[in-house]
């Protein structure tokens, strides 16, 4: 977070921005359901934070290494939920577990999320000199309530969160009076329906949203494959992850003086010119050789001892880098250069071992240098932080992609925010932490950015519905980076990002503060959605707590008042409706501007919307027809209402399906 907020235009130095206008989110309470919190972190100091908001009804629950005075005016709530986990894992030994049976965070993930969403200002934070700056949350004076429902398990060397504990955490958060609920958790595809308790987050979130609480969830880390996004219920704000305009350039200097800038978090001393090897059979050996990063252990140690090793991998996960570095180090090697496709999950190798990532093209350059040079050598310099231009913004490879596999007409993810190499507070138990701060990547890191922005917006618009906040951030989002350059999306080849990568785009907090128009929704709209999705009336009635009768014929899912239009199966022509509510100047006139998807006709009536003191909301119809004669993929456009001050943009995504319900693999 030492770069996130400046990048998004919420610099603390600018006295006139949303951040400072709304006293940094003071009086807003953000609930976080996660692995707990490290309360002593500087991120949770309450300097300059006012009294606890009067609507707070929660508390600070004591437990192992956690006393009620660990809370303060910043961290106002801390509770833990382990009964479900314990009841199902009776062999779990709470005394032997390294995790704390309290809201105290062992893993560090929850602390990272909490400090990103609403941490106080902490100047001069860095990871061993990298990413230096002032660390802070999106709403630095908002209050944080931690609900710990995720537990570290030795056997997994990871964290697990049971549905029953999460549902209790949501239940308590609703009671305690949180304004925003941030969940950096998720399941996996196939998704469960929204009325099926197997999606406990969707069920709990429904009740939270019905009570005016904005629920923000991570969209998942199963990208770049399509249809992998999770937490897709239309009442949830689902978040994708991008990079920042920041990288950790690491000079690799070859013996022929060619300089290649790789990526690493190498903070050790410069490695002077050292022999460079790509492990391969020299043609006269009975030994086995492998230049594949995962198989470096097949190489005789003497091949790598005292050298920098080049290897290639098709894997994108950091574990491969870490394992390969360990193998090289164990063989007496001095450094590692990994050629791979970008995975956007850079991390330092342990013990400051130099390990640098490059792409296949640069990897092949180095390979040819090795093959065609008598004594190849290389120098590796420490990583440097590169900020701003020319570093472009990318949707991270890992960020889960739409379309939504339950209801493709409901665009997911909704929005994107930085979630790659984010430096924030953590537990001192966390591997690779530096002074209680660590760099992490994931949609887990992007979701609290959106929660923090919504906390600021909530201070400005306390009466808005959760859907209004979603609309405001989606319709005003950047579809370029903040400098006007295109956002790319990593996949099997890099492409220009589209709504299935980033929803409305990259969150633009300043613009979201005054969106002009909003696509509002309330519980009745969610009922319409449930009816349109075919859920039976008795389930819907019990979910919403009142007798519900769906109209006959059923409402169309295309008419759900989302700030997006997604038509997954257009055959001839379809007409849909949206309603916009004026939240700008009372007397306003908006005109429509349509950028239709290629080969698709989009007609909007009326083409002008007039608002005054009597007319706050106006509906319009959108007629969409296709010129295509074949089943196409999704094509993208946009629909904008503009009064020349506000541009209220929604993404339009259309797939022509002449043959319906057809799986194409010809």
């Amino acid at each position: 977070t030492t770069r996130t907020w400046d990048y998004l235009g919420l610099s603390a130095d600018n006295s006139k921005n949303l951040l400072n206008d709304k006293n940094m989110g003071d009086q807003t309470i953000i609930g976080v359901i996660d692995t707990g919190v490290w309360p002593e972190s500087e991120s949770f100091n309450d300097n300059g934070v006012g009294p606890i908001p009067s609507h707070w009804k929660g508390g600070c629950e004591p437990g192992e290494n956690f006393i009620s005075t660990n809370c303060n005016r910043k961290l106002i709530g801390a509770k833990y939920f382990i009964n479900g986990f314990l009841a199902e894992n009776q062999g779990f030994n709470t005394t032997e577990s390294p995790d704390y049976i309290s809201a105290r965070d062992f893993d560090g993930h929850g602390t990272h999320v909490a400090s990103t969403v609403g941490g106080s200002l902490v100047p001069n934070v860095s990871y061993k000199g990298l990413a230096k700056g002032t660390l802070r949350g999106g709403a630095p004076r908002a209050r944080i309530a931690m609900y710990k429902a995720c537990w570290y398990l030795n056997e997994l060397d990871g964290v697990t969160c049971s549905f029953s504990d999460i549902m209790k955490a949501i239940d308590e958060a609703i009671h305690d009076g949180v304004d925003v609920l941030s969940l950096s958790l998720g399941g996996r595809i196939p998704l469960n329906s929204e009325t099926d308790l197997r999606d406990g987050i969707a069920t709990g979130a429904f009740h939270a949203v019905s009570k005016g609480i904005v629920v923000v969830c991570a969209g998942g880390n199963a990208g770049p494959a399509s249809q992998t996004v999770v937490n897709t219920a239309p009442w949830i704000v689902t978040v994708a992850a991008t990079t920042l305009d920041r990288s950790f350039a690491t000079p690799i200097i070859l013996g022929n003086n060619q300089v290649i800038l790789g990526q690493a978090m190498y903070t050790g001393p410069e490695l002077g010119f050292t022999s460079l090897v790509y492990p391969e059979d020299p043609g006269n050996s009975y030994d086995t050789f492998s230049g594949v990063c995962e198989s470096l252990n097949l190489n005789p140690n003497h091949t790598m001892a005292g050298k920098v090793v080049l290897c290639f991998t098709t894997a994108r996960d950091y574990a491969v880098v870490s394992r390969a570095a360990s193998l090289v180090k164990a063989a007496g090697g001095l450094g590692l250069i990994i050629a791979r496709n970008p995975g956007y999950n850079l991390a330092p190798c342990s013990d400051d071992f130099p390990c640098v990532a490059i792409d296949y093209e640069l990897g092949t350059d180095i390979l040819f240098y090795i093959r065609y040079t008598g004594s190849p050598v290389v120098k590796i310099q420490p990583s440097r932080t590169l900020v701003g231009e020319p570093v472009g913004t990318k949707v991270a490879t890992f960020s889960s992609r739409g379309p939504n596999s339950i209801s493709p007409a409901i665009l997911k993810p909704d929005i994107t925010a930085p979630g790659v190499s984010i430096l924030a507070a953590t537990s001192p138990n966390k591997n690779l932490n530096a002074g209680g701060f660590v760099m992490l990547s994931g949609t887990s890191m992007a979701a609290p950015v959106i929660s923090g922005v919504i906390a600021l917006l909530k201070s400005l618009h306390p009466d808005w519905s959760p859907a209004a906040f979603r609309s405001a951030i989606v319709t005003t989002a950047w579809r370029t980076d903040p400098f006007g350059e295109q956002i790319f999306a990593e996949g099997s080849s890099q492409k220009v990002a589209d709504p299935f990568d980033y929803g409305g785009g990259l969150v633009n907090p300043e613009k979201a503060a005054e969106p002009g128009l909003i696509y509002d929704m309330g519980p009745q709209d969610y009922i319409l959605y449930l009816c349109s999705a075919g859920y039976n009336e008795s389930s819907i009635s019990l979910l919403v707590g009142k007798v519900t009768v769906c109209s006959n014929p059923k409402p169309s899912v295309l008419d759900i008042n989302l700030p997006s239009i997604t038509i997954p199966n257009l055959k001839d022509e379809v007409t849909l409706t949206r309603t916009v509510t004026n939240v700008g100047p009372v007397n306003s006139v908006y005109k429509v501007v349509v950028e239709p998807p290629l080969g698709v006709r989009v007609a909007v009536t009326p083409a002008t919307l007039v608002f005054n003191s009597k007319t706050k909301s106006v509906s319009f119809r959108v007629r969409v027809s296709t010129k295509h004669k074949i089943n196409t993929g999704y094509l993208f456009g946009s629909l904008t209402w503009t009064d020349s001050v506000h541009n209220v943009v929604i993404p339009v995504s259309v797939r022509t399906q002449i043959l319906q319900n057809y799986y194409d693999e010809n």
Binding site: T35, S164, G200, H207
Partner: protein, 85 residues
């Protein structure tokens, strides 16, 4: 098959504003299923009573099936897991 596992019994929107009353209704429902207040108390893991109504309890498969057939129950599912993102 007689092994108890945590199940979530979801009842939808709460029908009463007093959380104590909501929890009491959960205990009653569980008591009628299990035959005693004591067994209900031992089985109960959580009562969801503020934002919505439901409970988590240790139930056998057959008990879970039986309670799922109650008209006021929307869903009964065995507990599951989420992961961090």
């Amino acid at each position: 098959s007689a092994k108890s596992k945590v199940h979530i019994v979801y009842l939808g929107e709460k029908q009463h504003d007093d959380p104590e009353f909501v929890t009491e209704s959960h205990h009653q429902m569980l008591s009628s299923l299990l035959g005693s207040k004591d067994d209900a108390h031992k089985s109960m893991v959580y009562s969801y009573r503020h934002g919505f109504s439901g409970f988590a309890a240790k139930l056998t498969k057959s008990q879970a099936k039986k309670i799922a057939d109650s008209p006021e129950v929307i869903h009964v599912i065995p507990d599951g897991y989420y992961e961090l993102a």
